[in-house]
């Protein structure tokens, strides 16, 4: 095992961190704090509740939960929080990171290998962080004859498209970044940007292997977009809506996969092809064309494309969950929070610990229903991601003519069958107005 720092000891690392913290606190309280006070002395402070906001009072406010928790709550309701943290980028990136780790470990187990093992004490759990640091620290090499503006822009555009896709996914009732009335159409519009970015990135590298990979990606994505769109029309017909939140809410009694299994299968296969996953990983076929359209990308540009790929994987799995598996609907397994602990406080011997300001947060924002919805959504999505990862350990890569054959007549035919099933269900009165729903 080659190691960069042979004398590294985890306990020493923690020790150094703690000593850093101690020095920071010492220096801040001796120098920084007086400086802040002196600066604040010359700034006219506002009057709040008939009281002049002195620096001491401001620090007291910071420690008062009745004043800080409403700020936290209002921050959690802003668009910024939704885009960056919860239903948006942060949440998706967290799931994507988990996906990468599980994929590597699971593949290793399937192929009787060990997989990531050394980073972090337990089963290589810090491997992903190490890889990320490695990618950030590596040099970005641009090929000499590359078309530089497009080459630089392509990874960023790829991540941006994936993030736009993630923004359309509803995670729990009301928890969605962009609640578009025509959400499913917006999804189709966003999916259409991936082949453009791919082919532009491949062309701009001005190299053989990326170009071959890019052309293959274009073939694959454009031809599988048609069965993808057609396979989702059945859901739109039985729901009567294009809004993803409404589609998810309409499955409160049963998921659509019970009635439209053909559409779900077609969508799942097209999803594998759109994600360039084995058995459809021709654009990246590492045993034939080095790394396909990713060949010339290096350093963090490659890291961005990988991030975009896994965000896209999460978004597709989440879309499958929302459209066919019922989204956040499921049995209520999260117990109701005992509210008297918040309203009356927790008796701890002679005193009662009571946190003011927590009650509106728990009754309006983070309700047990919301936690349960998120839990159900994550469980289903993780299950779908597992089934997306599984073929990688099982199947070989298929040829491009078999791929196009599959896309153009088997899947399109099946998608039409699915549309007719949906029409029959609606017109026979099984679903839709007067039927089960």
């Amino acid at each position: 095992m080659s190691v960069i720092a042979p004398n590294f000891k985890f306990s020493k690392f923690i020790q150094s961190l703690i000593s850093d913290v101690v020095w920071f606190v010492l220096i801040f309280s001796l120098i920084g704090f007086p400086i802040i006070m002196m600066v604040l002395f010359f700034i006219p402070m506002p009057v709040i509740d008939g009281e002049l906001l002195t620096p001491f009072l401001a620090f007291t406010y910071l420690a008062d939960p009745t004043r800080t928790l409403p700020i936290v709550q209002s921050f959690m309701m802003t668009d910024m929080f939704k885009i960056m943290a919860f239903p948006g980028f942060g949440f998706a990136a967290l799931l994507a990171a988990g996906t990468i780790f599980v994929e590597r470990k699971m593949l290793a187990k399937l192929q009787l290998r060990v997989g990531p093992f050394y980073c972090g004490k337990f089963e290589g759990i810090l491997q992903l962080m190490g890889d990320g640091l490695k990618l950030i620290s590596k040099e970005i090499i641009i090929p000499a004859k590359a078309d530089k503006p497009i080459f630089w822009a392509a990874p960023v555009l790829f991540v941006a498209s994936a993030a736009a896709f993630v923004a359309l996914i509803p995670v729990a009732p009301g928890w969605v970044v962009a609640d578009v009335d025509l959400g499913l159409l917006a999804v189709f519009a966003v999916i259409g940007f991936f082949p453009i970015v791919t082919i532009l990135s491949a062309w701009s590298a001005n190299s053989k292997f990326p170009f071959i990979g890019g052309i293959r990606a274009l073939f694959q994505m454009v031809s599988f977009e048609i069965p993808l769109i057609l396979s989702l029309l059945g859901v739109v017909m039985v729901t009567g809506s294009l809004n993803l939140s409404e589609i998810a809410a309409s499955q409160s009694s049963f998921p659509w996969i019970l009635f439209l299994p053909v559409g779900a299968i077609v969508f799942f296969i097209t999803m594998l092809a759109e994600l360039e996953r084995i058995p459809f990983d021709l654009p990246e076929a590492e045993s034939e064309i080095v790394a396909g359209w990713l060949t010339e990308l290096s350093g963090m540009m490659y890291g961005l494309v990988q991030l975009g790929t896994y965000l896209k994987l999460y978004a597709f799995a989440a879309l499958f969950t929302v459209l066919f598996l019922g989204g956040w609907n499921g049995p209520m397994i999260v117990p109701q929070f005992p509210m008297e602990l918040v309203t009356e406080g927790i008796p701890l011997g002679p005193i009662t610990a009571k946190i003011g300001g927590l009650e509106p947060l728990l009754t309006e924002l983070i309700t047990p229903e919301m936690i349960n919805g998120v839990l159900m959504f994550v469980l289903k999505t993780v299950g779908v991601i597992f089934f997306i990862l599984l073929p990688r350990g099982v199947f070989p890569r298929i040829r491009v003519d078999m791929l196009l054959n599959l896309g153009w007549h088997k899947l399109i035919g099946l998608a039409f069958v699915n549309i007719f099933i949906a029409l029959a269900l609606v017109y026979a009165g099984v679903l839709g107005p007067g039927g089960l729903q």
């Binding site: 025509l182 189709f188 519009a189 259409g192 082949p195 082919i199 454009v222 054959n405 153009w408």
Partner: protein, 170 residues
């Protein structure tokens, strides 16, 4: 706000249309064409027609522009294009464009566009669907036939067995 967005979209659309014509690099030209088509989608958004706008994005930017890009990448342009450009052609082109724009503008201004009220709600796509199956049903059937014909044609083309059937192993 809407005026600023309109101006920005106009600049993007017309600017990238001119760029699409004038760029020497075909790839950049087709990227600029994508900008034009995307700008038109933006106009549809401004006109409260998100349904049309999203279809514009999905079909024109997502598919047609990709096909153009794909075709352009397979072309060796030195073999096909010869630069024929002189002063007279340029001025004739500009003049033609001005005439067309002025006449189109006259048609628009004459068509009663000023009396349209603009504070109505966006049309629900369900209404579009209802109109399609009631008043515009012949158009719907015609479109359905054309699309079914083209899908069948694509299937038949993809199923071509004469070429390399002996190479196939599946």
């Amino acid at each position: 706000m809407a005026d600023a967005a309109f101006l920005a979209l106009t600049v993007i659309t017309i600017g990238s249309a001119i760029a699409a014509l004038e760029m020497r690099s075909l790839i950049y030209g087709s990227i600029a064409l994508m900008g034009t088509l995307g700008g038109i989608a933006g106009f549809f958004f401004l006109l409260d027609a998100p349904f049309v706008a999203l279809f514009q994005l999905a079909v024109y930017v997502g598919s047609i522009a990709v096909l153009i890009l794909f075709t352009v990448m397979l072309v060796k342009r030195e073999l096909i294009f010869k630069m024929i450009e002189d002063r007279r052609r340029k001025f004739a082109g500009i003049g033609l464009m001005l005439i067309i724009m002025v006449s189109l503008g006259a048609v628009f201004l004459d068509s009663g566009i000023k009396t349209i009220t603009t504070d109505e709600l966006a049309v629900d796509f369900r209404d579009i669907g209802k109109n399609f199956v009631t008043y515009y049903w012949p158009a719907l059937i015609l479109m359905g036939l054309v699309l079914a014909g083209s899908v069948t044609g694509a299937l038949v083309l993809a199923r071509r067995e004469d070429v390399e059937d002996d190479q196939r192993t599946n």
